[in-house]
Symmetry: C2
Amino acid sequence: MRKLHVTSKDFAYDVVIGAGVWRELRRLRRYSSVFVLTERRLWKRWGKRFGWESGLADFAPLFVPTGERSKSLRMVEQVARQLGEGGADRRSLLVALGGGVVGDLGGFVASGYMRGIDYVQVPTTVVAQVDSAIGGKTGVNVGAVKNLVGAFYPPRLVLADPNVLRSLDSRTFRSGLYEVVKHAILDGPDFFGQLQRYLPGLHCGQTRVLGQIIERAARVKVDVVSRDEREAGLRRVLNLGHTFGHALEEATRYRRFLHGEAVAWGLLAATRLAELLGVLAPEEGSRIARLARSVGPLPPVYGVSAQRILPLLPRDKKAVAGQIHWILPERIGKVRITKDVPLGAAAAAWRDIQKGGWHA
Amino acid sequence: MRKLHVTSKDFAYDVVIGAGVWRELRRLRRYSSVFVLTERRLWKRWGKRFGWESGLADFAPLFVPTGERSKSLRMVEQVARQLGEGGADRRSLLVALGGGVVGDLGGFVASGYMRGIDYVQVPTTVVAQVDSAIGGKTGVNVGAVKNLVGAFYPPRLVLADPNVLRSLDSRTFRSGLYEVVKHAILDGPDFFGQLQRYLPGLHCGQTRVLGQIIERAARVKVDVVSRDEREAGLRRVLNLGHTFGHALEEATRYRRFLHGEAVAWGLLAATRLAELLGVLAPEEGSRIARLARSVGPLPPVYGVSAQRILPLLPRDKKAVAGQIHWILPERIGKVRITKDVPLGAAAAAWRDIQKGGWHA
C-alpha cells in the first residue's frame, strides 16, 4: 500500500494505492450518513466487499446507468434528490465508486449538494485510478459539449485498489493502459522502461504488477496537479495525445473509440508530428510507437481524413483567438508546449499514422 | 455613490450603491464576450439604459422566465447551453441583472460554466440589493427543497442602482423593505431610527432616500459576510425572522406570501417569542412591531395554526440531531442565538401574532 499526497495552496488529500485500501475509509471521521454512488453491475460484483472492507455499517447505494450519458445535469438533479430524500445533510459523505463517469458526476454532486459535502473517490478503472479521480476536476456534459459545467472540488481521499480491475472487460482495461503510456512519456526513461518490460501481454488479474504500474502512473498526475491545481499552465502537459484524441472522438461521435483508444491514436499522431517538426528523434518516436502498440490492437482510423480532423482540433478556450496548444514529445521524459505548428504538418502527421507503416 | 468592500480570506469585491453605478462596468478588464442573464420584462424596461451606462458594445441578453421555478438545474442546463452556443469561453463575463432568482441562478451558472467564469450582480429588487446579491451564496432548488444544490462563489462586483426600483410593483417593493427592517434590528438604534422616520409612506420613486437606506442595509450584510464567509456561525444572525418565515412559506406552498412578507411575519413571531421568554423588553418589542407594520399591510396568516407551523420549522442541517437555532432579538442592535426554546413558547408566540392585538 502506498500513499501519495496531493497538496496545493488550498487543500491536501491522500491518494492511496494497493490491495485492500478501501479499509482506509475506516480512518475517516464520523459522518452523519454515507451514500455510495455507483453502477448496479459494479455494486453486484464489489458491493459486499466494499461493505466489509470499509467498515461502514449503514450506507445507501445510489445507482446511475452505465455510460457517458449519465454525466448530465439531469442526473445531478436525480442524485441530489435521492440524497435529500435519504436525509443527507452537510455532514454526510458521498463515495463515488466507479470509473470516470461516476467520479466526475459524484464529485460535482458533492461540490453542489448543500453547497458542498465531503466525498471520496474509489476509482474502479485504470484511467480513473491513474488520472480522472485525481486532481479535483469534476463536471458534467451539456448536450455534446464535454464537461461544460463543473467545479474544481477536491475529494477527501482517493482509494485505488488494483484488485477491482479484474472485473474490467479487456478492451476497457487496455484503454486505460494507453493513459499509463502517456504518463510514462511525461515521466521518463525509468518508468517507460518498466512499461516496456511489463505491458506486453499484461492482463487485468496481475494485481501485484498492476499495483506498481498504477502507483507510478498516478504519481505523475499527483505531481502535476500538486504544482498546478488550476491548470494555469503546467497541467496542460497532461493533454499529451488529447489534441488529436478529442478531435478523433468527436469525428466518430464518441462511438467507435473508447477514450483511451482515441488518446492512443492521439499519442501516435503527436509523436509523428514531433518527428516531422524535428522536435523528436526518430529512434525515440519509434520507442513510443512500439510501446503504445504493445498494449494491443487499436480500432482502425479508416475514413477519418485529415480534412475531417483538422477543424475539430480543440482550441484553447482561455485564449481569445482560440489557438491550439500542441503538446509535443521532445524525448521520453520531456514535452514541449507550443502554438507554433503549421496545420500542414499536423495534416501530414495524421495521414502518416492513418495509412500505417510508420514505426509499425 | 458609495462603495462597500466585501473581504474574506479567499477574495474581495466591491458593492457599489447609488444612481448610475452601472457605469462601474466600464472599469472592469476586457472580457472576450459578455452575456446578460435577465428577465424579458426587466430588459424591455432597462436594457437600453444598461447598454449605454455599462458601455458594453456587444453583449447578448439571455432570458429566463420570471419566478422561483427558474431556479432549477434544468434552467442551469439551458443557460449553459446558450452560453456555449453563443461562444462563451473562460474569459467571458456573465451579468446577472434581476432579483434574487436571476442572481442565485446566474451566480451558480457562472460558478460551473467551464468550472468558473466571472460574473457581476446587478440586483434590481430591494431584497437583492441589500441581501441576496451580496455574499456569494448561489444555488438552485431541487423539487420542493430550496437551494439544495449550489456553490459559494463570489461575484466580481455588485452594482445596486436604486433608480431601477421604480419599476417594481408596490407589493414586491414593500416585501424587500421587511428585510431592511431585519437589518436595522441587527444594526442598532441609529439605523432603526432612520427607518422610523422614512419608512412610513416610502415609495419606490424616492431614489435619494432609498439610496441611503439601501446603502445602510447592504452594509449590515457586507459586514457579516466579510467576517464569516462560510456561515460558520456569525452569518446565522441574518436568519432573524427566517425560522418562522420559512415554515410559513412552506405551509402556504410559497403561494400566499412573498419571501419578505413571510420574513415580516417571522420577525414579528421571533420578537413576540423573545418577549415571552423574557429576553426582550416589551417596549423594544413594540418598537420593532410598529416599524415592521409601518411598511404596509401584510397578507393575513389565518388558517396557519401553530400545530401546522411547528413541524415545519427548519432544523439545522449541520447538526446531527437537527436542532432549531433560534435568533431572538435582545434589544435593537443585538440578537441572541439559542437552541434553548420550549416549543410551547414558540407555539404561544405564533398564536399571539396570529390573533392580532399584540402591539397592534
